[in-house]
């Protein structure tokens, strides 16, 4: 039976991992997501026998994830911005070797060592490929603790469906805040063996080799072509977004994650003043809902993108809208969170040309 609980985002996500039959979690402490490792250390092995290992660094973590994923099991890690930066080389290898795994970034303020407060400054890193070469992660952006739970399950499903690393791009506030969540029933741990996995070569099959090395440029290009073909299919099948009051809106706020919830509140404040504002929230940051935003731009007078960074997703919104309406931007940085009132002011100033 599913179960209702009041839980902190990071702990809810860890609980979700256990309930998803996660086979292994490799982690390294970093604020604001250390609760994931702590929760799993406390309950993971005890409840399902899953592997929970604190590694010596995020570099080691991502390579343990690589090794674990080679066995065809459900493997995950979580970290926060500087830690995720350290993982980028390994993520590129995992994507190229087409291994399924789940990665979580509880985004904190940067750049540099930055701050432990929430931010969205890792959008580019997550969506455009933070490591070397042409690869893509499927990037899920939860906006509630409930979605952090749901995205763990969805993430594992997508990882194995596409043989691709999945990233949940959360932030420090979602990780730390407590909300009511509905927890799904426990899924048993994986018993089926993937045909491509490293399990030891029996006489009955050829050896399995997992590599991201293709020294012959012709072969390397073929691998790239195959990957790009997969990404095009993902772009067709996996786009997810949510919209709020967009049908009869004059203007639309575009935001992902926690910020989309603040935008909803701002839209309500605007409605009280007679301004019709919708909110559009991409749930998959890759694949990005370009077409939906393009369609929406035909119906509204302008868009305002709100992010907790210096303007990252706004580039994708502008690509989608392609100049059909004006796309303005307001961002807070360094761990600062915009308030609904502040967003309303920006609507008035940037979209309406002054106070309504």
């Amino acid at each position: 039976m599913s179960e209702m609980k009041l839980m902190k985002g990071n702990e809810a996500m860890a609980e979700a991992a256990i309930r998803c039959g996660c086979d292994a979690y490799f982690g390294y402490p970093i604020t604001p997501q250390s609760e994931v490792l702590e929760y799993l250390a406390l309950y993971g092995e005890k409840r399902t026998g899953m592997v929970v290992l604190q590694a010596e660094s995020e570099v080691a973590v991502i390579n343990m994830v690589y090794g674990g994923a080679c066995t065809g099991k459900r493997v995950m890690t979580s970290s926060s911005s500087p830690g995720v930066s350290l993982m980028q080389e390994g993520i590129s290898y995992i994507a190229t070797a087409e291994l399924p795994c789940l990665l979580v970034n509880v985004n904190r303020g940067g750049p540099g060592l930055g701050t432990i407060q929430p931010a969205q400054g890792d959008y580019f890193q997550a969506v455009k490929g933070g490591g070397h070469g042409d690869y893509k992660l499927i990037v899920l952006a939860p906006s509630t603790v409930q979605e952090m739970v749901d995205h763990v399950k969805l993430g594992f499903e997508l990882a194995f469906k596409w043989k691709n690393p999945i990233m949940i791009l959360s932030d420090g506030s979602l990780g730390q805040m407590m909300e009511k969540v509905e927890l799904y029933d426990e899924i048993p741990r994986k018993t089926e063996v993937e045909s491509w996995a490293l399990t030891g070569k029996p006489k009955t099959r050829e050896r399995n080799v997992i590599t991201s090395l293709f020294i012959d440029p012709k072969e390397m290009e073929e691998v790239n072509i195959r990957l790009q073909k997969k990404y095009r299919e993902i772009e067709k099948e996996e786009i997810r977004y949510a919209s709020y009051n967009c049908e009869d809106a004059d203007y639309v706020l575009v935001a992902f994650g926690l910020v989309a919830r603040i935008c909803k509140k701002a839209a309500q404040l605007a409605a009280e003043k007679g301004i019709k504002i919708g909110v559009f929230r991409p749930i998959t940051l890759y694949p990005f809902p370009y077409q939906a935003l393009s369609d929406l731009s035909e119906k509204v007078k302008g868009m305002l993108v709100i992010e907790m960074n210096a303007g990252q997703m706004v580039e994708d919104v502008r690509l989608a809208v392609n100049g059909k309406v004006k796309v303005e931007f307001h961002g807070r940085m360094g761990g600062m969170v915009p308030s609904p009132e502040e967003i309303l002011e920006n609507i008035e100033e940037k979209l309406l040309g002054g106070k309504a």
């Binding site: 570099v59 080691a60 690589y66």
Partner: protein
């Protein structure tokens, strides 16, 4: 005239000299099954090694493959190739294998072994991979006592990238990045990482071997046999260093390189068990 021809049947190959003919027959006769004293184990593919003539990697590969074959554990063994000269090791071992990022083979091995604790897992790494960029992973993997075998081929130089200084390059030894010889004042000292590893309580069997002579090859093979046996018994980390040569980057013939290895490498990297059951620990 006693006319004999080579297998090709090319008339130009006609030989008349009796001694030459006898030598040829002796060579051909090893192709007959009853005369075979060595054959490729099933755990090696028929791919031709890309290693330079005289390099110790080929023999080391063969020993590991033979041991896996003799223990009949092909279906239970997973290997991890490094970045370095052995980056293509998975072309040669006929077993399930992966290829790790530079220095991270033991982290990858940890991931595999933790999920498949009943399989045999080994990493195969060079000195740059294991003792420079991957030092952290090496030490912590051994400190956790991961029940795997780490094979460490030490030839004191970066081979694949063309002869740069390694953490194990000897004092005074020339490389492309220590062209006047390694100077401890600015480049530090050659790292005896195997001795460091032996101080960790979770390692079980730590040994240094070589493959430069038939006698050493036989001893090295015994070490591999023991390591797989200990892994079966879940004893903890086994670590086998193979002190090897690099004729190409040492700029020597294979014979010269083996002599140089004997006189220089083996006097600094002394062969033998550093930590073994029944032997007093290095601590």
């Amino acid at each position: 005239m006693n006319e004999k021809r080579l297998i090709t049947g090319d008339p130009a190959d006609v030989l008349t000299d009796e001694a030459q003919i006898d030598a040829m027959i002796a060579r051909e006769s090893i192709c007959n099954n009853e005369n075979l004293i060595y054959e490729r184990p099933e755990t090696l593919t028929d791919a031709i090694f890309h290693y330079c003539p005289g390099c110790g990697h080929g023999v080391t590969h063969r020993l590991i493959a033979e041991v896996i074959n003799e223990l009949d554990i092909q279906s239970e063994t997973i290997g991890i190739a490094p970045v370095g000269c052995a980056v293509f090791a998975y072309h040669y071992f006929n077993i399930d294998m992966t290829e790790a990022a530079h220095g991270r083979a033991t982290a990858v091995a940890t991931g595999i072994k933790r999920l498949l604790p009943d399989k045999y897992v080994f990493s195969y790494q060079g000195d740059g991979d294991l003792a420079a960029i991957g030092t952290g992973e090496t030490i912590h993997t051994c400190n956790r006592g991961e029940n795997i075998l780490i094979v460490f081929v030490n030839n004191g130089i970066y081979g694949m990238t063309g002869g740069q200084m390694a953490p194990t390059t000897l004092i005074g030894m020339k490389s492309t990045t220590s062209p006047y010889g390694r100077d401890a004042a600015t480049m530090g000292y050659p790292l005896r990482i195997t001795e460091m590893i032996a101080t960790l309580p979770a390692t079980y069997y730590v040994t240094r071997q070589a493959v430069n002579t038939p006698a050493n090859v036989r001893k090295a093979k015994k070490a591999f046999q023991k390591a797989f046996e200990y892994q079966k018994q879940k004893k903890g980390t086994c670590f086998i260093e193979i002190v090897s040569n690099c004729p190409s980057n040492w700029k020597m013939t294979p014979l010269q390189s083996n002599k140089w290895l004997e006189e220089n490498m083996l006097t600094f990297y002394k062969l033998g068990d550093i930590k073994a059951p029944g032997k007093e620990s290095a601590e």
